[in-house]
């Protein structure tokens, strides 16, 4: 009796061919096979869909701000009246006979209007009269830029260093791994805060490079720098083991240059791992960016990011909880969707696990 076609093996291919009435067996690339595995993972696709929706919504922030909310992310409207309510109202304070303060009328910020104000203040206003929904979208745009950008830089640098360390070994490997250790010795968040705080004051103006303190490059580069060892070390280990394989020896024996071996033989074998790392570390970096911005060491005010929006709303967490809930939920959804998709991608791309199961 034919085995059920659950896992991909040579036997399965045979069975499939028989089922297809004698159709010829066509070889499939590992990427295609991975894609087939992935597309069966509906949860991963839902997660990807959620992330894409968030990313598209954030990228449409300028259109939303201009055409729907009719404001800018940093524009303040403290004295505006919306639906008969003041955007920012102060409490009315009196004193009793003993001289103690008595609040006769509580103040506060405008709550969510939920489209009842023609697109203005859909999610309410913050403490400076700014539109929360607009800042949420612009903040998401900045957070995603930093998250994706730093992940890209981190993985590219980590792959490059891992290739060099793994292929050459010896003193090259020693220098690179000791550098990883040096960065790894610091608690990653504290290191990021220290670097972010220092660079956010005066920027970076060395070695012919000039980056203003308000530039998003500062948090992007800081975050990518601190996470390089976390990606580089596992990749280096993988490359070290691949380096001993026969096909590498054969390539060396054939006289292939180190660059060719690294990029044509080694890199494709770690590409799937790097891709999984890339996806997972975007989520990690978005969280780190939110933390840094919350602490004042990431995106600098008045520029919004999800972290700064939370920080600005924390003082009003009791009277206006939506100021912190909205960006918090956005971060949760983004990070969760990326993690779920990353897990699905790893399950689809990781042939080693399947081989191990076979044996």
């Amino acid at each position: 009796m034919a085995e059920p076609a659950t896992d991909f093996t040579l036997d399965t291919a045979q069975v499939l061919a028989e089922e297809e009435h004698g159709a010829s067996i066509v070889g499939r690339s590992p990427w295609y096979l991975a894609w087939r595995r992935l597309r069966r993972n509906y949860i991963a696709f839902i997660a990807l869909f959620v992330f894409v929706v968030i990313a598209v919504a954030c990228s449409l922030a300028p259109i939303y701000a201009h055409h729907i909310a009719h404001t800018a992310p940093n524009a303040t409207h403290t004295e505006d009246i919306v639906n008969g309510k003041q955007v920012l109202s102060a409490p009315v304070i009196g004193t009793d006979a003993q001289g103690n303060v008595v609040v006769e009328k509580a103040g506060g910020v405008l709550g969510p209007t939920w489209w009842h104000a023609h697109g203005r203040f859909v999610l309410g206003a913050d403490g400076l009269g700014r539109d929360v929904a607009v800042r949420l979208l612009y903040g998401g745009l900045n957070s995603l830029k930093i998250g994706i950008g730093s992940a890209l830089i981190c993985v590219m640098v980590a792959v490059l260093l891992a290739l060099l360390a793994g292929f050459y070994g010896g003193w090259v490997d020693w220098i690179i791994t000791r550098s990883f250790d040096l960065i790894w010795a610091f608690p990653v968040l504290l290191l990021a805060i220290a670097l972010g705080s220092a660079l956010s004051i005066n920027g970076f103006h060395h070695f012919g490079i000039s980056i203003s303190p308000h530039s998003l490059w500062i948090p992007t580069l800081v975050i990518s720098y601190v996470y390089v060892p976390y990606v580089g070390r596992p990749l280096r280990g993988q490359i070290l083991s691949l380096r001993e394989k026969e096909f590498i020896e054969a390539a060396i024996g054939q006289g292939a240059s180190p660059l060719r071996i690294m990029f044509s033989d080694l890199l494709p074998n770690v590409a799937s791992t790097a891709l999984v790392f890339f996806t997972l570390i975007i989520a990690n970096n978005i969280l780190t960016e939110a933390g840094l911005s919350f602490l004042g060491a990431g995106v600098q005010p008045p520029n919004p990011s999800w972290g700064t929006v939370i920080q600005e709303g924390q003082e009003r967490i009791i009277s206006a909880p939506w100021l912190t809930l909205a960006p918090g939920i956005a971060i949760v959804l983004t990070v969760l969707s990326l993690n779920i998709f990353g897990d699905g991608l790893r399950d689809a791309l990781d042939p080693r696990a399947k081989v191990r199961v076979e044996h």
């Binding site: 409490p91 004193t95 103690n100 008045p302």
Partner: protein, 542 residues
């Protein structure tokens, strides 16, 4: 016999009536006694305070309201302020010495130390200690040295850090201070904690961890930590006077808690009796029901300075435009939930020389016009602020107002510890930013001479952030240093100086803040000293 019995009977009745009358009188007195009287209040014992920050516990270095709030009761000055609420609290009264005899046209101050004074270590307080204290201030680069550089020989000592300050002479219990020129505010300067006596031989370094012996009603307890907390205990060698009471608490425990919510929660939960935490505006309502919330109007002004030496604020029209563009009431509402009053003045309303100015009515359209006329549209402006919540909020709003009138703004926030030194360094060329001033002593010179006299601009640690220098107002300020008292005529002259300066608009003042002070429900006898805040020496428990 019968008459003798009658006499005894009569005397008995009279005695009974007298006794009844006395009891009735005693009852009437106690019934009419105010609630804070001893008969209706409990002993304070330990007064537990939660404060947001302390910079130093050394009078030569301490320069924040919170530090001085504590140190005022520990280190006495030659003259001091009354421990009363209201305007009377500004009156200078004898401290360790008598009020001075002022002679030679206001240049010579002669004071006499009270007899039998001792430090908390039992050693006598000597007149010579005043000179040692002044020299120590210069040797430790105290932030207050600028107040005393009119003493003869002080400037020379400040430069060389060697030798003597010839303008201070002591003999027995007499202290004679000679100034280079008269200063109408010198009496109030003598009451500054920088001039609080410490013994000769006190180390010339920050002694916050091991404070010098006290001369006031309290001394600092063992192992103080300015970052975590300290205690004040009674100084057994202190003798109360008419103006300096003994203090009702036996002990004051001060805990440093930076987070306002945590500080307030401690008071609500009964772990503390008082906090000066900056309660977030929307929590005022909930907090006020769970304790006693008082509002303290201290003499302060919050303002945005504009560097008159740097483009575009070197143009008068730009500075005037900024004053017209900012929405002062919105700032007060957004930053402090309405706990403050708007202002266009430099001086706060607590000053007798205050005359309300209304030079710049809000008009954004006109402000834009002025910017265009000045040719400053699109000018790049960096707006500086401190990394503290209220400064960040107000600076962000301020930048939005500048953007609205056509300036291109970038915000720059610095940590609290480096902000003033950075903007006060002329090399920074900071264009505009946030600042505030809380009075050091109740005299207009503390404002105009320190913050707006062009002759006092220095390269580092400058306080005139606007780098404002106008020959006419400089001359007027210098001229007003001489009058010894703030008479109505002198106050009118100060008001004129203020108007002239604000017409040049080096600042955009926006508010005089009101500070919330939160007490637990069982605290009574709450008294707010105008200069030093809550006077814990008078508190009691209900």
């Amino acid at each position: 016999m019968r008459s003798r019995q009658g006499l005894i009977r009569l005397l008995s009745v009279l005695a009974l009536m007298a006794g009844l009358a006395l009891m009735t009188a005693a009852y009437a007195v106690s019934a009419n006694r105010p609630q804070s009287s001893v008969a209706h209040t409990k002993s304070v014992g330990t007064f537990r305070a939660v404060i947001d920050t302390i910079d130093y516990l050394d009078t030569s270095q301490a320069y924040t309201a919170q530090s001085l709030w504590a140190l005022w009761t520990v280190y006495e000055t030659l003259v001091t302020y009354r421990h009363v609420a209201g305007a009377a609290g500004y009156q200078v009264v004898p401290g360790l010495a008598s009020l001075p005899k002022i002679s030679r046209g206001g240049k010579v101050y002669t004071l006499t130390l009270r007899k039998g004074l001792k430090y908390s270590n039992g050693k006598p307080i000597r007149a010579a200690d005043f000179k040692c204290t002044m020299k120590r201030d210069f040797l430790t680069a105290s932030p207050g040295v600028g107040f005393y550089d009119t003493i003869v020989g002080a400037k020379k000592f400040e430069t060389s850090l060697k030798g003597d300050i010839g303008g201070i002479k002591t003999k027995g219990r007499t202290i004679k201070i000679t100034l280079t020129s008269p200063r109408g505010d010198f009496l109030t300067i003598l009451a500054e904690p920088f001039a609080a006596l410490v013994p000769c031989g006190t180390a010339n370094q920050d002694l916050s961890a091991n404070p010098p012996p006290a001369s006031g009603p309290y001394k600092i307890g063992p192992n103080p930590d300015k970052n975590r907390g300290f205690s004040l205990v009674r100084n057994k060698y202190f003798k109360p006077t008419k103006y300096i009471p003994r203090g009702t608490p036996n002990r004051v425990d001060v805990t440093i808690v930076g987070d306002a919510d945590a500080a307030v929660q401690r008071v609500i939960s009964g772990q503390a009796d008082y906090t000066n935490a900056a309660i977030p505006p929307e929590r005022i309502g909930t907090v006020s029901n769970r304790g006693q919330l008082r509002l303290r109007k201290s003499a302060n002004t919050y303002y945005f300075w504009m560097n008159t030496r740097v483009y575009p604020f070197n143009k008068l029209k730009v500075r005037q435009a900024v004053n017209m563009a900012i929405d002062r009431s919105a700032l007060v509402k957004a930053v402090w939930g309405g706990l403050g009053v708007t202002t266009e003045n430099i001086l706060p309303p607590t000053y007798p020389s205050y005359r309300k100015l209304t030079l710049y009515k809000r008009n954004v359209a006109k402000a834009r016009q002025l910017i265009n006329q000045a040719g400053a549209k699109g000018a790049d402006v960096t707006v500086w602020g401190r990394q503290v919540s209220d400064s960040q909020q107000s600076t962000t709003l301020y930048a939005s107002y500048l953007s609205a009138i056509g300036l291109k703004t970038t915000l720059k926030f610095l940590p609290r510890s480096t902000y003033y030194t950075t903007i006060g360094n002329s090399d920074t060329k900071a264009q505009t930013g946030w600042a505030r001033w809380l009075e050091d002593y109740p005299h207009p010179l503390d404002w105009f001479d320190v913050l707006l006299n062009g002759r006092n601009i220095v390269h580092e640690n400058n306080n005139n952030f606007a780098y404002y220098s106008n020959a006419k107002t400089n001359r007027l300020i210098d001229g007003l240093k001489k009058p010894p008292a703030l008479t109505p005529a002198v106050n009118k002259r100060w008001a004129n100086v203020e108007k002239l300066i604000m017409q040049q608009a080096p600042w955009a003042p926006w508010s005089n803040r009101t500070f919330p002070e939160f007490f637990s429900k069982n605290m009574g006898c709450i008294s707010i000293q105008r200069l030093y805040g809550i006077d814990f020496m008078k508190v009691c428990r209900k």
